[in-house]
């Protein structure tokens, strides 16, 4: 039974989503209800998974079925302490998104809900796949519902925006596919056998050569775009602004993390040597992203775009933690992925309420909101503090561990990255000062209030922000061993390569 748990998790939303999508419009209520039930089941399943997975390194609950035998492509899935929390993040956020969207998405809600389920399946498959071809298929599967969700339910400039988004993403994916095929063939020419299995390919001995470095970037590009790393980020502010807030919630909260996950699970384990060679360049870009994103956020005049750039800054810090690749920074990275999802996700949900109720998200058209909507203001402030890393809330834990980890390999990088402490406080509190405080200035006759279902989707996020800031054990006891395992494998491979080079 347990070996089918992960597959059940992936295919339940995939199949139900596909079926619900075909239902005619008059079944909207049914489709929405069914999707909500499935999403709840998924979340419960993933909680069960939390109990089932042991706090130790290596893949668990593995399932491997032969799929395309002549090229040895297998349906191979498994979970470890890193992917566990991305699974939990995905199922929780999907559920919260549906609860939030219940009244928020008015037009053709059934289709929207089915697409969210398909997206969930894509994300879960991406996180759990251990075969590169299977990974790639799920990776692409994520794009399709996202394309429709932005293109149909997005804002006024949704068509050019979604085009930009798709071109960016597809370029990365295409290069990824070519790289996967190339690597599989390289394995074939080295060993005479086919394999696209991650656990096998990571044992491949790769020499130091420009071709390998090129392949490394081929494997990294898609993830760096999704992350995004400066200067591959220009799709992000447009997309985050034009997509419906609940879609941005999923995009910024979960999908962006798939980029980080891809680097940790695939790119770096496959190319540890190349990662070491290029870490200075990539770290520099991450630093630029941290500082640039924060300064640009300071200059934004629209709520969503401001949070979008702050997201760029935070994700760049996460990327920096990945590139510095040591246990402390990597544990911080995994934790911070969840933190960033919670804080940024909640902020986008809150802004979605503003957009709906006030009809504008221009900062200069808003002011003194705390006067009219104290509860809204309290939640917004809480999430702002979580986002800028005030200890006691979750953001601090991740930020601190990443800075700590980065400092162990480079003091100067840590100093530059720590600038985020000052800059994030500046743009975030200046925003609250103009938006929440001051004299009341809102569109006439409009009243901001949080509806019950929206509140239901926000409260778990608030509780998580506090809980994860005060008690890390339930998370860290899984993350720690998994990270140790990933790093020690990397180390072994690097040593083997060094010996190989020595002999060769």
């Amino acid at each position: 039974m347990n070996s089918y748990l992960l597959s059940l998790l992936i295919f339940l939303p995939l199949l139900t989503g596909a079926v619900l999508l075909t239902l005619p419009r008059r079944f909207t209520a049914f489709a929405k209800g069914a999707a909500l039930v499935i999403a709840s089941l998924e979340f419960l399943l993933s909680l069960w998974l939390w109990v089932q997975v042991q706090p130790q390194g290596g893949y668990q609950l593995v399932q491997k079925l032969s799929w395309i035998p002549f090229m040895n492509i297998n349906y191979h899935v498994g979970i470890d302490g890193i992917s566990l929390f991305l699974v939990l993040l995905t199922t929780l956020f999907t559920l919260l998104a549906l609860v939030y969207a219940w009244h928020q998405i008015e037009n053709n809600g059934g289709r929207f809900f089915s697409l969210v389920l398909l997206l969930e399946a894509g994300m879960l498959g991406t996180v759990l796949a251990l075969d590169l071809v299977v990974f790639y298929l799920f990776w692409e599967l994520m794009l399709i519902p996202m394309f429709f969700m932005i293109g149909i339910w997005g804002g006024a400039r949704r068509i050019p925006t979604v085009t930009k988004f798709v071109i960016y993403t597809m370029s990365g994916s295409l290069v990824l596919l070519i790289s996967i095929l190339f690597l599989g063939s390289a394995y074939h020419s080295q060993t005479g056998n086919w394999s696209f299995d991650l656990t096998i390919l990571t044992q491949l001995q790769l020499p130091v050569s420009p071709l390998v470095d090129l392949l490394f970037f081929g494997f990294a590009l898609a993830f760096l775009i999704k992350l995004p790393l400066f200067p591959l980020h220009t799709w992000l502010p447009d997309t985050y602004t034009e997509a419906p807030p609940v879609v941005t919630f999923l995009l910024a909260g979960v999908m962006a993390k798939m980029g980080v996950y891809g680097l940790i699970r695939i790119t770096i384990p496959l190319f540890p040597g190349a990662m070491e060679r290029w870490s200075i360049l990539l770290s520099t870009l991450a630093i630029i992203g941290i500082v640039y994103g924060a300064i640009v956020a300071l200059g934004q005049i629209e709520l969503k775009r401001l949070i979008a750039y702050s997201s760029l800054s935070h994700m760049s810090l996460i990327a920096l933690g990945v590139f510095n690749w040591n246990p402390t920074s990597l544990e911080g990275v995994v934790y911070h992925m969840l933190n960033h999802a919670v804080a940024t996700g909640a902020l986008f949900l809150l802004i979605g309420i503003v957009e709906k109720k006030y009809g504008t998200t221009q900062i200069k058209e808003l002011g003194g909101v705390a006067k009219q909507a104290p509860v809204f203001a309290a939640l917004f402030l809480l999430m702002s503090f979580a986002s800028i890393g005030v200890p006691g809330l979750n953001g601090f834990v991740g930020e601190f561990l990443i800075l700590l980890g980065v400092a162990s390999s480079s003091a100067s990088l840590a100093i530059l990255a720590a600038l985020t402490l000052i800059l994030s406080a500046a743009y975030m509190l200046w925003l609250t000062q103009r938006f929440l405080f001051g004299a009341l200035n809102v569109p006439a006759g409009r009243l901001l209030s949080i509806e019950r279902l929206q509140m239901a989707s926000l409260i778990p996020l608030c509780l998580l922000a506090i809980l994860m800031g005060l008690y890390t054990r339930p998370f860290m006891q899984y993350i720690g061993p998994a990270v140790q395992d990933v790093i020690s494998r990397n180390q072994t491979q690097l040593q083997a390569q060094a010996e190989g080079d020595h002999h060769g």
Binding site: T163, M170, L174, L177, L181, F182, S185, A186, H188, S189, Q190, P207, S209, L211, L215, P231, T234, P237, Y292, I295, V296, A297, L298, G299, Q300, Y309, P327, T328, E331, G368, A370, F385, V390, P391, G392, F396, F400, L401, L403, A411, I415, A418, L421, I422, A425, A426, L429, W430, Q433, F437, G438, A439, L440, L470, Y471, T472, M476, G480, V483, Q484
Partner: protein, 648 residues
């Protein structure tokens, strides 16, 4: 018999050490309860009942004060007792784990008692001061939250826990400065305070991080035992980074600019947070890390330099202020400068002693000012006061005692602690800084009595009716005045100095080498300076009458402009950054990055136009598929005929 006694006391300590965690937890619990109460009544115009909120809001700090006092009393009776308690795990990684672990030694015990005691008094005062305010319950929530964070800061046994309290008090400070947030200026002052503090925290967190990688510890005991292995460069770097944090929190030059603006908050907040407790956290940090600073003479000298400059500069700015709270704010900055001079000169106990006495007389001064402001219906200008001696006798008496205390008149509190610091400077041969400290003492006496005479002497110059202070204000005022009068007796000069002996186990002993004659002479000089300051103030302001002519001339202008720090920061840092943010992205994102990509797509588009002739439908999609197809064909070709291409 003796061992039996020892066993009993040991048993008591083992049984009661959980109380240490309760000291920290109680105010947090109060904040949680009050917060839920506030939120549950958010739709209600009146809010929750003031009686209930006032009672709850004061009960938790009072309980914490009683517990702290109980633990402190045990320390008093049992030599070098240090309380320890680990409440829960917090931040666990595979490499280390940080707990919510608390430690009460002589230093943190003294601080905790002072903070909870003064904190409780200010809570009581606030019940009267905030009466009728719509945000009454929110106010007490924040105030409890502040007290909890402050105790976390003081009682944590490690730097990361301290940092949590450190940022927590920063958040509460932000919330309380901008408490009346309808006023954009007040909300802005809150932002300014937090951001300037974050500049300090930037240094602080890096200091903690570098300290960890060099000592493998976050807790004070561990750090202290490993500190000897560090090179001088490492020591200096870390000492400097931690100092940056202290400069922000304790409002020292160049990070002092936030504190005067912080007076936008309700006056009891200024008393509690921006005078008695939070702003002294920087001094506490340096005293706590004394073993680090003892190894870094150069950074210690920097502390003396910054402290004395701040003390002097802030005192001169205070000379021309006409807002009663602004005078007190600059006076606080100036007094914090004294404390820095003390700890910089290696006299950690003297620095903490001044923290202790200052907490009493400055809290009394702020609450006295608060009572005046309250009775004059939110009038803060000294020019519209006067003659309040008869109308507010209790406040007058309290303010007089506190002014004398801060001016350094014996035997009141400020005299002893300030002289300990000046003596330490003299002892170290730092005569320049000693002179600066002495001049500052004279200036302090002058501006404080300027404030006193403008408020209480002469005739009343305001228009509004003067109401009387309620009992809930008089009670804390009276108790604080007693402290302002007597707290100095804890540190009598020479061998009677109790506080220096008490703190010795925590911050090391410091014995002045000056002879009694020299000490007496120094005291006489400083009292003389204070007397001259008071005398000048009396002659100029005792019979002050309007109109007030503001001092003119280049010097006065410089003081009015507060030496131009704010202007400089605004024009050189804040505005350019905002402009950069505003226009940076149009240039970088739109022009450079998107521009390059658009240029790329033009090539693509030209290609596409020719493809369009072939009746393809969706241009972009098919172009993608085409490229993909070409790649696949090439791939299959090479696979079959030249597999060596794939050999890496």
């Amino acid at each position: 018999m003796h061992t039996e006694h020892a066993t009993t006391t040991l048993a008591i300590s083992l049984q009661s050490n959980w109380l240490l965690s309760m000291v920290v937890l109680l105010p947090f619990l109060g904040a949680l309860l009050l917060g839920l109460l506030t939120l549950s009544q958010v739709k209600n115009e009146q809010g929750p009942s003031e009686k209930l909120v006032g009672l709850l809001g004061t009960a938790f700090p009072a309980l914490a004060a009683i517990l702290a006092l109980f633990l402190f009393a045990q320390q008093l009776s049992q030599g070098e007792l240090v309380w320890h308690h680990t409440l829960a795990s917090w931040l666990e990684t595979s490499r280390f784990s940080i707990d919510f672990a608390f430690m009460m030694d002589h230093l943190s015990g003294l601080m905790a008692v002072m903070i909870t005691f003064i904190g409780t008094l200010i809570h009581i005062f606030s019940i009267a001061y905030m009466h009728g305010d719509r945000g009454f319950a929110r106010y007490f929530t924040y105030l409890n939250l502040f007290l909890g964070s402050m105790l976390l800061l003081i009682l944590s046994d490690n730097l990361v826990g301290l940092f949590m309290g450190w940022e927590g008090v920063g958040v509460c400070s932000f919330l309380l400065i901008g408490f009346w947030f309808d006023d954009p200026a007040k909300a802005g002052a809150g932002t300014k305070a937090f951001v300037v503090n974050r500049i300090g925290d930037f240094g602080f967190i890096l200091g903690i991080i570098f300290l960890f990688w060099n000592t493998q510890h976050f807790d004070y005991t561990g750090i202290q035992s490993a500190i000897q292995n560090l090179s001088p460069t490492q020591i200096n770097t870390i000492a400097f980074l931690l100092l940056v944090g202290a400069l922000g929190k304790s409002a020292q030059i160049p990070l002092h600019v936030w504190l005067p603006d912080a007076m936008a908050g309700p006056t009891p907040v200024s008393a509690l947070i921006h005078a008695a407790t939070m702003v002294t956290a920087g001094v506490y940090l340096i005293a706590r890390m004394h073993f680090l600073y003892e190894l870094s003479p150069s950074v210690s000298m920097l502390i003396v330099l910054i402290g004395s400059l701040t003390a002097f500069v802030a005192a001169t700015i205070a000379l021309v202020q006409t807002d009663i709270k602004k005078v007190l704010a600059y006076s606080t900055v100036s007094q914090l400068g004294y404390m820095f001079m003390g700890v910089g000169a290696g006299a950690y106990a003297a620095g903490i002693f001044h923290v202790f006495t200052h907490a009493f007389f400055k809290a009394a001064l702020f609450l006295g000012a608060g009572a005046v402001i309250h009775c004059l219906h939110h009038e803060q200008s000294l020019l519209k006061m006067g003659g309040l001696r008869k109308k507010m006798p209790v406040t007058h008496a309290v303010m007089l005692i506190s002014c004398l205390a801060i001016a350094g008149i014996p035997p009141l509190a400020g005299f002893f602690s300030k002289d300990e610091i000046l003596l330490a400077l003299w002892d170290k041969g730092l005569f320049v800084f000693w002179t600066l400290g002495l001049l500052t003492a004279g200036l302090t006496a002058f501006y404080m009595f300027r404030l006193y005479y403008l408020t209480f002497a002469g005739d009343y110059r305001g228009e509004s009716e003067v109401s009387t202070e309620p009992f809930l204000m008089k009670l804390p005022l009276g108790l604080l005045a007693i402290g302002a009068a007597l707290a100095g007796l804890l540190g009598l000069p020479g061998s009677y100095n109790w506080i220096s002996g008490w703190l010795a186990p925590a911050v090391g002993a410091h014995h002045p080498t000056a002879s009694p004659t020299v000490m007496g002479g120094l005291m006489l000089i400083s009292v003389a300076f204070a007397g001259v300051g008071i005398g000048i103030a009396r002659s100029r302001y005792k019979n002050f009458a309007l109109p007030y002519t503001a001092p003119t001339g280049p010097l006065a202008n410089m003081l009015q402009n507060k030496y131009g720090f704010d202007l400089l920061y605004e024009n050189v840092i804040v505005e350019p950054l905002r402009k950069l943010g505003r226009f940076g992205w149009t240039i970088a994102d739109r022009l450079l990055i998107d521009g390059a990509i658009t240029a790329g797509t033009w090539v693509y588009r030209v290609l596409g136009l020719s493809l369009k002739q072939l009746q393809f439908g969706n241009l972009r999609a098919y172009a993608h598929y085409l490229i993909f197809g070409v790649f696949m064909l090439a791939y299959l070709y090479f696979m079959r005929h030249m597999p060596e291409v794939f050999r890496l």
